[in-house]
Amino acid sequence: MIMKKLLLSVLYFSLPILLFIFLAEWFLTNQLRHSRHGEYSVWNDVFDSRVNSDIVVYGSSRAMVHMDPGIISDSLSLSCYNLGINGHNFWLQYLRHKELLKYNTKPKLIIQSVDVFTLTKRPDLFNSEQFLPYMLKNSEVEKATKSYKGFNYFDYHLPLLRYAGKYKTIGTIFKDLISPVPIDSCRYRGYAPQDQTWNDDLEKARLRFSTFRVDIDTSSVQLFDRFIRECLSNGIDIKIVYTPEYKVGQDFVQNRDEILGIFIKFAHKYNLTFLDYSNDSISFEKKYFYNASHLNRKGSKLFTAKLVSDIKKNNFLGK
């Protein structure tokens, strides 16, 4: 009898909790699925079939801040979307590619921005909050993110659990309810131009290390190879682009040439265009950068115009 009393108490106590779990799961996910903040705006466009572009830009934060889809669209008369993902190398860029193909029409051309970190693998899941509204029972997201330190099995399979401890994200959701972020205010078709002035990131990095060696991850190289093969067999053209990098900072990475060599090899192997802007005049002008590897708004507009002109000039689209 007494045990029955306890079980009944536990049951009554749990009912509001269960109700809360499902309501909160629905509310939080639904709000984030409509968010226009940072990466959410891009993921939402991908999952809601709003990308549907002839040209897509892939890459890390360098792609995100360097290539203006507006200029590309206007100059080439083709629709364009920038899918650059901040802080992530090729593994998560590939996830975006897979989800893009699942929910959108396939692009004609991929402009793949590469850099010294493209073929590395970081241990942590940077900005893990961006996956929250899409990861429940999504095997593609689970496959791409589970090997990182961030989420566990239950986060992918049980409702609400993954939101535990994410009070900042939850706070943002409630803030958005009061004053929503207007569409395209954070990222215009994925592009996030930066109005920052030169900061001391390079000097700080130099104080910590005199030079730096990037560990190339073999599995990332294999994935990059697979990606190219898949795209080509699907009739999607790829241009590999090494966007401008401030010349003074280029010496900081010891094995930069070795990494560039890998991309050149890929270009030769699959007969792809490889455009390297490491020695372009933009790379010598500090005024176009806000740190050694990121262009500011002015620099990115200038660079995108140059890129489009090179694509047109060499009739790369007609290849």
Partner: protein, 429 residues
């Protein structure tokens, strides 16, 4: 290992019960002690002794080559070894009857809630509970669930959030100024308390849910007015173990001045060494001995036996100052406990005691959320300091709606402010 420990002490207990010859009884006890401590020394201290031995030879200009062991420390070994040891000693002292019930004895050694990190139980308390027919007691089960909830809050919200900053600061100590390092020490002091006492609450609560009463392990130690009171309130099951099986047999606080000093240092150094094979733990133990000794010699070590400011909301200025000084002393000792090496500890101390102590804190502003949660937590602890655990008084006398609202609020706080999952600190010991 646990099976070995269980069988050895079960068999020795039976023989000790039968044997009347004092020499043979001593021999049996020695087998138990050597068998248990041998295991502990081999797994926990072998590499430490080896390295110290090599360092000593190197210091005198001799190079010797040795091979360190790459062994994994079995989980909970420091806890169940002490538990089985205490059984052997109690039987030897004829304080308890040896058990002939192997199942009950095995359950006593391996009782799952407290197997890996205590409380270190005594056979006299836990073993008889396995013989008794237990009835389900509704209020006891509810109390157990409540204690589990509070333990979870302490671990998941307070300890794990404090750990994030403590780890960041201690792991990158060279990059921070004195003020941030001091804050890091504060975060660690909160982390270790909430991590370990949170675990103990979960263990004790789980025990109560199944009808078992485990011993109390923490009694609001950061509200202690001197270091002697702190040690009566911190990791009670270990400190009373050392008191009963080491300090008293050595003579305790009796005897001449030299004996008192020796016994105090032995108990604190061994306590430090129990935590791990590292000189930092030994210094931590020595520091506590230095704090404790003046109180013992001036016979003031039992000044504070009751609850601070009992029945009052606020402490007196004197009580507040005493608590503050005691807390600062423990903070200083925690630096050695947490640091990777003695050099690391001294580099932190020299930075804290420099002009940079007055520089602004160099942490992302989110650390204020962690500080806010800690302040709220300490206030709840203060209000509940007369109880077994802070929210123990949320009993049947309260309206159900209010009680449930508080439980839901705690659960919501766990959901919203859960830190990044961190391993329990005491699992490594």
């Amino acid at each position: 290992m646990v099976i070995y420990s269980t069988i050895v002490d079960f068999v020795i207990g039976i023989f000790l019960g039968k044997e009347t010859n004092p020499i043979k009884r001593k021999l049996l006890l020695s087998i138990s002690i050597i068998g248990n401590l041998g295991l502990l020394v081999f797994f926990k201290y072998y590499n430490f002794f080896l390295d110290s031995f090599v360092d000593a030879f190197t210091f005198f200009g001799y190079e010797i080559s040795t091979r360190s062991l790459n062994v994994i420390l079995p989980v909970g070994i420091s806890f169940y070894t002490f538990q089985t040891l205490s059984y052997g000693i109690d039987v030897y002292r004829k304080q308890i009857e040896p058990t002939r019930d192997f199942i009950a004895f095995s359950a006593f050694v391996t009782f799952f809630p407290q197997l890996v990190a205590g409380p270190i139980e005594r056979a006299s308390n836990l073993l008889p509970q396995f013989y008794k027919h237990r009835f389900f007691v509704y209020n006891k089960a509810i109390d157990g669930l409540r204690q589990i909830l509070w333990g979870l809050f302490k671990k998941v919200v307070i300890a794990d959030n404090a750990a994030e900053y403590a780890n960041l600061i201690f792991n990158n100590s060279a990059e921070y100024t004195g003020s941030t390092l001091a804050l890091g020490v504060f975060f660690f002091s909160i982390q270790i308390y909430c991590d370990f006492s949170g675990y103990s609450d979960i263990a004790i609560g789980t025990g109560r849910l199944f009808g078992f009463d485990l011993m109390r392990n923490f009694n609001f130690p950061y509200f202690s007015r001197d270091i002697a009171e702190f040690w009566r309130r911190w990791h009670i099951s270990l400190s009373t173990w050392f008191r009963d099986y080491l300090y008293y047999p050595l003579g305790g606080s009796k005897g001449n001045l030299l004996n008192k000093v020796r016994n105090t240092f032995i108990i604190f150094l061994v306590s430090g060494f129990w935590h791990g094979a590292n000189w930092t733990f030994i210094i931590w133990g020595a520091l506590n001995a230095i704090y404790f000794l003046p109180l013992l010699l001036l016979k003031k070590n039992r000044t504070y036996l009751g609850i601070v400011a009992e029945g009052k909301i606020f402490p007196t200025f004197r009580e507040f100052t005493s608590m503050g000084i005691t807390f600062l002393l423990t903070l200083f000792a925690w630096i050695f406990f947490r640091a990777n090496s003695i050099d690391h500890a001294f580099s932190i101390i020299s930075e804290i005691f420099s002009g940079s102590f007055f520089s602004p804190i160099e942490l992302p502003k989110e650390f204020l959320v962690a500080v806010g949660l800690i302040v709220l937590f300490m206030m709840i602890e203060w209000l509940g300091r007369a109880n077994q655990y802070a929210i123990a008084k949320l009993g049947p006398g309260w309206p159900k709606g209010l009680r449930w609202a508080i439980y839901y609020s705690i659960m919501l706080a766990i959901f919203l402010f859960a830190g990044n999952g961190q391993d329990f600190i005491y699992f490594q010991f």
